[in-house]
C-alpha cells in the first residue's frame, strides 16, 4: 500500500469501527448458537480479513481462534471449489492439512466484493460438538486424520447466493448431533453476513482506499509496538523443556517438549526442534493453525499484557509479524499427512508455558511460575430413549502459577483457553447427568511462594444412564514448576467410581478415548495447581493466616511450607514463626 497515509484522527475512527464489527460478529454467533461449546464456552473466533488474508480485526473470544483464520483462508485458496470466488459464495472449511486449526473448528467464510472487486473476507470459526468422528465429540486414540470425521476443504455452502442443498443434506447424515451442527452453522452464516455488510458500510463511508490504507497502518502500528517490546529483551537464546504424559495410547512413552526462544533485535524465533516426533494417535498439533498461533499468543500475553499496559493494541496481523516459529516436519508440532491432529490444545498450552519459563530470567516482572498449562476437555455422550444421541462437551479450568506481584488465580481457564463454564443447573435440567461436586481442591496444596500458586478445581459429574466419556487432558506427571524460590505446584488426576455399587475408586490417565460408563458412574477431575513465585518465607505471616482462615492453606502446610505457626485460636504465633523461619532460612541457605 503505497498511497498517502491516512491522518491519525481518521485512523483512530477506523480502528474503532473494525473493533466494533469484530465484537458484533462474535456476539451474534455465540448468542444465537445452540451447542454449549459455542454459546457458553465461546469457543469461537470471528473477524475481517483483507484480500491477502491479513487479519484486519478479530473478536475478543477464545485466544486459540485468534490468529488461526488466515491459515484457513490460505488453505481455502488451495482447495476452493471451482477455483474462483464469486459474489454470494459462502465456504465451509475444516481440513487440518489445508490450514485448519483442527477439524472440529469449522470455518465459515464469505468473500466481500466492492463494485465487483474482491476486497476481503468476513470469516469465523466455531468448535462444533460432533462432526462424525470415531468417538462422540472428542477423539484421541485414532489411526489417522480420516477418523476425525467430515473434512471440508473449500466447499461452497452457498454458490453465487444459491444454497447448496446437497452439502447440507450430507452434513445432516454425518453427525451424531445433526440439527445442532446445522443450526450452529446457520449462526456462523448470520455472523459472516453481518461482518460483510459492515465492511461494505465502512468502505461506503470512508472510501476503499482510505479503509485499506488505514488497515495497513493499523497493522504496522501493532507490529511496531510489539517489536519495541521485543527489543527490550536482551538478545540471546533462552531454553526450557518439559514433557507430556503420553499420546493417549502408548502409556509408557513420555513426549518431550523443547522450546528455544531466540531473541535478536526486535524479532524473535521460537524453535521447537528436539520436541517429540509426531505420534500415531490424534495427539498432534497442526502447524499453521495451532502451533504458530500458540507462539503468537505467548508474546502478546507477555509483552502486550492488557492488564498492565494502558495502550490498546488492535488485534491484527501486525502482532504476528515479528514472530517466527520453527518445528521440523514430522514432529508433534508439525505432523505430516495423514497423521491425525485433533487433540492439540494441551501441547499448545505447554509450549506457551515453556516460553514463559524460558524467558523468566530476562522478564521477571512479566512472567508467572508454572501454570496448569493443560486443558480438561471432556465429551460425555449417550443415547436418549428416543434413540437419538446426546453429546456434551465440557471445558474444565486450570490454575495460574504465582506472579511477581500477586498470587496465581485459582480455578480459572489457563493461557490460551478462556471459555465459560456451563451452569450446573442448566445441565441438570437438560441432560442425563448431575454434578456432584464443583469446588476448589483440598487434597493437595498449591505451590508455596511469596505469591502462591493458584488452586485447581475438582469437578465430579455423574451419569444417570449408560454412556461413554472421552477426556483430552494432560499433566498427571510433570509438575508445574516453582519460580524464583517458589515451590512446585501439584499435578492433576482423574478418578472414576460408581455411586450405586461399591466398586472402589479407579484412577485413570489424563487422556482416554470412548471409555464406556454405566449409570451412576462418576468422573471426578482434579486440575493441576500452579507453582509458587518467590521465597515462601517472605510471604507475610498475616497473609498466610488469612489463607488458613479461608481454607486455601492448612495449618500444617502453613508451618511446613511457610514457617508460619498458627495457634489453636487461629492467630499467628509470631515468636514461634520467627524462630521457625530463621531455622528454615538456615537449612535452605
Amino acid at each position: 500500500m503505497t498511497s498517502k497515509e491516512v491522518d491519525p484522527i481518521t485512523l483512530q475512527v477506523i480502528a474503532g469501527a473494525f473493533d466494533t464489527i469484530a465484537q458484533e460478529m462474535g456476539h451474534v454467533l455465540y448468542r444465537m448458537s445452540f451447542s454449549s461449546i459455542i454459546r457458553e464456552s465461546q469457543d469461537l473466533g470471528a473477524g475481517l480479513f483483507d484480500a491477502d488474508f491479513n487479519t484486519l480485526c478479530e473478536s475478543d473470544s477464545t485466544p486459540l481462534h485468534i490468529g488461526s483464520i488466515p491459515g484457513y483462508l490460505r488453505g481455502i485458496q488451495d482447495s476452493l471449489q471451482g477455483g474462483e470466488w464469486h459474489e454470494g459464495d459462502i465456504v465451509i472449511h475444516n481440513h487440518p492439512y489445508y490450514g485448519a486449526s483442527h477439524s472440529p473448528d469449522i470455518a465459515v467464510v464469505m468473500p466481500i466484493f466492492w463494485q465487483g472487486e474482491l476486497v476481503g473476507f468476513s470469516a469465523n470459526t466455531a468448535h462444533h460438538v460432533d462432526i462424525g468422528s470415531a468417538t462422540p465429540g472428542l477423539i484421541i486414540d485414532i489411526p489417522d486424520v480420516f477418523a476425525e470425521g467430515m473434512l471440508f476443504a473449500g466447499i461452497k455452502l452457498y454458490e453465487k447466493g444459491q444454497r447448496n442443498e446437497a452439502i447440507w443434506q450430507f452434513i445432516g447424515h454425518n453427525s451424531r448431533m445433526p440439527k445442532q451442527l446445522q443450526d450452529d452453522i446457520e449462526a456462523q452464516i448470520a455472523s459472516v453476513k453481518l461482518g460483510a455488510r459492515r465492511f461494505i458500510e465502512l468502505i461506503e463511508n470512508y472510501g476503499k482506499e482510505t479503509v485499506l490504507t488505514a488497515s495497513g497502518q493499523l497493522m504496522d502500528y501493532s507490529e511496531r509496538i510489539l517489536r519495541s517490546r521485543i527489543a527490550e529483551i536482551p538478545d540471546g537464546e533462552y531454553y526450557a523443556d518439559g514433557f507430556m504424559d503420553d499420546d493417549g495410547r502408548n502409556r509408557d512413552v513420555r513426549l518431550p517438549v523443547k522450546v528455544c526462544v531466540r531473541v535478536q533485535g526486535d524479532s524473535v524465533e521460537v524453535d521447537l526442534t528436539g520436541s517429540a516426533d509426531q505420534v500415531p494417535t490424534g495427539f498432534n498439533v497442526p502447524f499453521e493453525g495451532s502451533t504458530k498461533v500458540a507462539c503468537f499468543f505467548a508474546f502478546r500475553a507477555l509483552l502486550l499484557d492488557t492488564a498492565t499496559s494502558e495502550e490498546y493494541v488492535p488485534q491484527n496481523e501486525g502482532s504476528f509479524r515479528p514472530i517466527k516459529v520453527i518445528a521440523p516436519k514430522g514432529s508433534i508440532f508439525n505432523p505430516e499427512f495423514p497423521a491425525a491432529a485433533e487433540a492439540r490444545f494441551t501441547q499448545c498450552n505447554r509450549v506457551i508455558d515453556l516460553i514463559v519459563k524460558a524467558l523468566s530470567p530476562v522478564l521477571p516482572e512479566r512472567v508467572t511460575a508454572g501454570n496448569s498449562a493443560s486443558l480438561s476437555f471432556v465429551a460425555y455422550s449417550g443415547i436418549r430413549p428416543s434413540g437419538d444421541y446426546w453429546v456434551f462437551l465440557e471445558v474444565n479450568e486450570g490454575a495460574y502459577g504465582g506472579r511477581p506481584r500477586s498470587d496465581g488465580p485459582d480455578a480459572i481457564d489457563n493461557l490460551m483457553c478462556n471459555t465459560r463454564n456451563n451452569p450446573i443447573e442448566d445441565l441438570g435440567m437438560h441432560l442425563p447427568m448431575i454434578c456432584d461436586r464443583y469446588e476448589l481442591r483440598d487434597d493437595v496444596m498449591p505451590g508455596a511462594g511469596q505469591y502462591r500458586g493458584g488452586i485447581g478445581v475438582v469437578k465430579a459429574q455423574r451419569l444417570l444412564t449408560d454412556g461413554s466419556i472421552t477426556h483430552e487432558n494432560e499433566r498427571h506427571l510433570d509438575t508445574p514448576w516453582g519460580a524464583f524460590g517458589g515451590a512446585p505446584g501439584a499435578v492433576g488426576k482423574v478418578e472414576v467410581y460408581n455411586t450405586l455399587n461399591d466398586g472402589g475408586v479407579k484412577q485413570l490417565p489424563a487422556k482416554f478415548s470412548g471409555v464406556p460408563v454405566k449409570a451412576g458412574d462418576v468422573m471426578a477431575f482434579y486440575a493441576p495447581c500452579g507453582g509458587g513465585f518467590g521465597n515462601p518465607l517472605e510471604r507475610p505471616p498475616e497473609q498466610v493466616r488469612e489463607d488458613v482462615l479461608d481454607g486455601f492453606c492448612t495449618v500444617e502446610h502453613a508451618q511446613r511450607a511457610y514457617g508460619v505457626v498458627i495457634t489453636g485460636d487461629e492467630e499467628v504465633d509470631l515468636a514461634a514463626t520467627n524462630e521457625l523461619r530463621a531455622q528454615m532460612q538456615q537449612a535452605g541457605a
Binding site: Q12, M32, R39, D183, E310, V356, I412, N418, E425
Partner: protein
C-alpha cells in the same frame, strides 16, 4: 383532561459532583417548576440531599409540610460496590459447591495477560471462610428432595456467624428455583439465632435458573443491603425531623420507583438508580415534542451514558448482560451503555504514536488544564475552549474561571507539535475522536440490535451533551437533535416523570410447541403468583387496584440455546389457542436482535417475569411564552470567533436560552448558553424553540 391535584413534589438526584433538584408545585391547576444544584456530600449523601431540599423549598417559597413526595436517585448502593466497603456476609450453600462465587464462570477478565486481577477472587463479595457448606440436595428436573436439610449444620453455621459478628447472611442452594423449601427453612433458623441480621435467600432475591448468577446477585444484595437500607431509613427519618411529611420514593435501575421498604429488602434493584433518571426524562422530553424514537446521550465529566428508546419503550437489558463492576447482578436494569468519554477525558499520543482520547479522565481534580488547578494533560473541555465553543468567562454561569492560554499551550505541546498539526487541527481531532468513541457505543446500542438510527432523534443532555449533539447525530445518521429544557438537571427531572414499578421472576422451564394444557396450567399458576406479588407491593404502596397494570413476559430461547430473549405474553391465561402468540413474539424478537429466526425449532420458556406498574402523575414543564413574531435580538449576548468541525472559524453569536421564546429560531452558526449547558448550532443548522421548552436542532 382532569385537573392536577394540588401538591408539591421534589426530585433529587445525587451525582459525583453535584446533587440536582427539581421541584414542582401545583396550585389552582397551574404548576410552577424550580430547579436547583448543590454540591454533593460524598461522605454522607443525605446531607447534600437534605440541604438541597431545604434550599429549593425556600427558593420556591414552599412550606416543607406541603411537600407530598420526594423521589430520590441515589448512588449509595453503587458506591458501596466501587469502594468495596459493604457488609461482611455469611453464606450457607450446598455441600460440594462451596466455591461457586470463587470460580464464577471460570473465564478470565483478560484474554492476553499474565498479570491480570480476578476481582471476584481478590475482592470477594463473601469471603471463603464465611461460605459454609450445608448437607442438603434438591434434584432436577422435578425439584425432589434427595438429601434433606441438615438443620443442625445450619444452626452451627448461624452460631459461627454470630461469634464472628456478621450482620448479613445469604442462603443459596442449588436448584432452589425448583423447590425453595430448604432455603426458607434455613432462613428461619438463621433468624432465630440472628434476629437482627439482614438475611435473604437466593430464591427470594431472584428466583431463576443458573447458580452463579443467582448466588452472585444474592451475595451482592446482602453486601450492599445493610448500609443501603440504613441510609434510606435515616434519610426518611431526617426528612420527618425537618418537618417534611413527604413519602420518600427511590428510583430503581429499571426506571420505576419503589418504596424505602422494598428497596431496602432488595437493594440490588437500585444499583443503577443514578443513570436511570436521565433515560426516563429523555423519553418524557421526547414525548413533549411528539417524538418517541430517541437516542439519549448523557455526557458528564468522566463518562457518557447512552440509551436507545424505540417507539417510546425504554429497553431493559438482557439479564445475562447485567453486571455491576465485574459481578453479575440479575436485577432489571435500563439498557444503557456507559463509556469513558466526557469533558474531562484526556487526549494523548501513546507509545506507538496513536492519537487517543479517554477513557482516562482528569476528573474534577485537577480537571482540565484550563481550570488552572494543576492539570497538564489536555482534555475534551480544553479542546472546546481552544475552539471557542466554551466561553472562558461563561463556564458554570461565570462561576468557574478558566484560562484558555493554558489549554492552547497544552494541546500544542502534547499533541499538535508531535503530530505536525496546528493547535486547531489537534483540538478538532480530540473532538472528532471522542465523538467517534461515543458514536461507536451508540451504534453498539442501536444498529447492532436491529435499530435504525435514521428514524431516531438524538437527545443530548448532561452539562456537556448539547455541545456534541449535532456532531453525534450526523455520525450515527440520527434525523435531528432535541435539547431538553434543562439539560444539566435532566436526571432529576426523570425522577418526577416515572411510574411505580415492581418486577418478580420465576424460572419455569417448558417447551411451548408441544405444551399440553397441564404444562400451560403450571405456567399460569406461577404467572398468577407473580402477579399477586406485584399486586401486594402496589397495594402496600397505597395504589388503588384500578390503577394496577401487569405486563407478563416469557423469557424464551430455542431449545439448546443459552440466551433468552423477552416475548410478551397475551393478557390472561395461556391456552392451547393463544400460546402461539408467545412463540411468534419470540421469533420476531430473535429476528430483530440477530437477523435470523429458527422458525421450525422448539421454543423453550425459561423464566416468567411479571412487571406490575402504576402510573404516577407526571411533572408538567411550564410552557414558554410565544415569540409572536419578535426576533431573537433580545436574547443576543455577544459574538466571538468559533471553530466548527469542518475547520472554518466564524464570528459566532451567543444567545441566552432563558430569553428565547416559543417559535424563535437560532440560525447556525450560533451558540445557545444556559446555566450549566451550552448548545452548539453549527453552520447550516437551525435551532427551533418549542412551546414545551425543547429546542430542536436540524442536522
Amino acid at each position: 383532561m382532569e385537573a392536577k391535584r394540588e401538591m408539591t413534589k421534589i426530585g433529587v438526584d445525587v451525582g459525583g459532583t453535584f446533587t440536582d433538584l427539581v421541584l414542582e408545585t401545583t396550585k389552582d391547576g397551574t404548576s410552577r417548576v424550580h430547579v436547583h444544584k448543590v454540591s454533593s456530600t460524598p461522605e454522607d449523601q443525605s446531607k447534600g440531599v437534605l440541604r438541597g431540599i431545604k434550599e429549593i423549598c425556600q427558593a420556591a417559597q414552599v412550606d416543607p409540610a406541603d411537600v407530598k413526595l420526594v423521589v430520590h436517585g441515589t448512588t449509595v448502593a453503587t458506591n458501596i460496590t466501587l469502594e468495596h466497603n459493604g457488609a461482611e456476609v455469611g453464606m450457607l450453600t450446598t455441600r460440594g459447591f462451596r466455591d461457586i462465587l470463587h470460580i464464577a464462570r471460570h473465564k478470565r477478565p483478560h484474554n492476553f495477560s499474565m498479570q491480570f486481577d480476578v476481582p471476584w477472587q481478590s475482592q470477594p463479595l463473601i469471603k471463603r471462610r464465611n461460605r459454609i457448606p450445608i448437607s442438603e440436595r434438591i434434584l432436577p428436573p422435578s425439584g425432589a428432595v434427595d438429601t434433606p436439610l441438615n438443620e443442625q449444620e445450619v444452626r452451627e453455621a448461624a452460631e459461627l456467624f454470630k461469634k464472628r459478628g456478621l450482620s448479613a447472611v445469604v442462603i443459596a442452594f442449588l436448584f432452589s428455583f425448583l423447590n425453595n423449601q430448604h432455603e426458607r427453612r434455613a432462613k428461619e433458623i438463621i433468624q432465630e439465632v440472628l434476629p437482627d441480621a439482614y438475611v435473604c435467600c437466593s430464591s427470594e432475591v431472584v428466583d431463576v435458573i443458573r447458580e452463579y448468577e443467582r448466588f452472585s446477585t444474592t451475595a451482592m444484595n446482602a453486601y450492599v443491603g445493610p448500609r443501603t437500607s440504613r441510609y434510606l431509613r435515616n434519610l426518611e427519618r431526617s426528612l420527618k425531623e425537618e418537618g417534611f411529611d413527604a413519602e420518600l420514593r427511590i428510583m430503581q435501575s429499571n426506571g420505576g420507583i419503589g418504596t424505602v421498604q422494598t428497596c431496602s429488602e432488595k437493594a440490588v434493584t437500585i444499583l443503577m438508580s443514578g443513570p436511570a433518571g436521565g433515560v426516563i426524562a429523555g423519553r418524557w422530553a421526547g414525548a413533549m415534542s411528539g417524538v418517541n424514537n430517541l437516542i439519549t446521550v448523557d455526557i458528564g465529566g468522566t463518562s457518557a451514558d447512552i440509551s436507545t428508546i424505540p417507539a417510546g419503550e425504554i429497553k431493559i437489558m438482557n439479564p445475562r448482560d447485567t453486571y455491576v463492576g465485574d459481578y453479575p447482578v440479575l436485577a432489571p436494569m435500563i439498557d444503557l451503555a456507559t463509556i469513558g468519554a466526557g469533558g474531562g477525558s484526556i487526549a494523548y499520543l501513546d507509545e506507538g504514536g496513536a492519537f487517543r482520547v479517554g477513557p482516562r479522565s482528569a476528573g474534577a481534580d485537577p480537571g482540565p488544564v484550563c481550570y488552572a488547578k494543576g492539570g497538564t494533560e489536555p482534555t475534551v473541555t480544553d479542546a472546546q475552549v481552544v475552539l471557542g465553543r466554551l466561553d472562558a468567562d461563561k463556564l458554570l454561569g461565570g462561576d468557574l474561571k478558566v484560562d484558555p492560554d493554558l489549554a492552547r499551550q497544552a494541546i500544542d505541546e502534547k499533541l499538535a507539535k508531535p503530530m505536525g498539526l496546528s493547535v486547531e487541527q489537534a483540538a478538532l481531532g480530540i473532538i472528532k475522536i471522542i465523538n467517534n468513541n461515543m458514536a461507536l457505543a451508540i451504534r453498539a446500542n442501536s444498529v447492532a440490535r436491529g435499530v435504525d438510527p435514521r428514524n431516531f432523534a438524538l437527545m443530548p443532555f448532561g452539562g456537556a451533551g448539547p455541545l456534541h449533539g449535532v456532531a453525534l447525530a450526523r455520525i450515527v445518521s440520527a434525523n435531528e437533535v432535541i435539547v431538553p429544557p434543562a439539560p444539566g438537571i435532566t436526571a432529576a427531572v426523570g425522577l418526577l416523570v416515572t411510574d411505580m414499578q415492581y418486577e418478580f421472576t420465576r424460572s419455569v422451564l417448558a417447551i411451548l410447541n408441544d405444551a399440553d394444557q397441564t404444562t400451560l396450567d403450571n405456567i399460569n399458576v406461577h404467572a398468577e403468583k407473580l402477579v399477586q406479588l406485584c399486586r401486594e407491593r402496589l397495594v402496600a404502596d397505597g395504589v388503588p387496584p384500578e390503577k394496577h397494570r401487569f405486563i407478563r413476559i416469557a423469557e424464551c430461547r430455542y431449545q439448546g440455546q443459552g440466551f433468552e430473549l423477552r416475548a410478551e405474553m397475551p393478557d390472561g391465561a395461556l391456552t392451547l389457542a393463544n400460546k402461539d402468540i408467545v412463540m411468534e413474539n419470540f421469533h420476531r424478537q430473535h429476528k430483530q436482535d440477530y437477523g435470523y429466526a429458527f422458525e421450525g425449532s422448539l421454543v423453550e420458556v425459561v423464566t416468567l417475569r411479571v412487571i406490575g406498574v402504576a402510573d404516577v402523575e407526571s411533572l408538567e414543564w411550564p410552557k414558554l411564552g410565544k415569540a409572536n413574531g419578535t426576533g431573537i435580538d433580545s436574547a443576543f449576548l455577544f459574538s466571538r470567533p468559533t471553530t466548527f468541525d469542518d475547520g472554518q472559524t466564524l464570528n459566532t453569536p451567543r444567545y441566552d436560552r432563558g430569553k428565547l421564546m416559543a417559535g424563535h429560531e437560532v440560525p447556525g452558526p450560533g451558540i445557545v448558553i444556559q446555566h450549566n449547558s451550552t448548545t452548539l448550532v453549527p453552520p447550516g443548522c437551525t435551532a427551533r424553540v418549542l412551546e414545551s421548552g425543547n429546542m430542536h436542532v436540524t442536522v
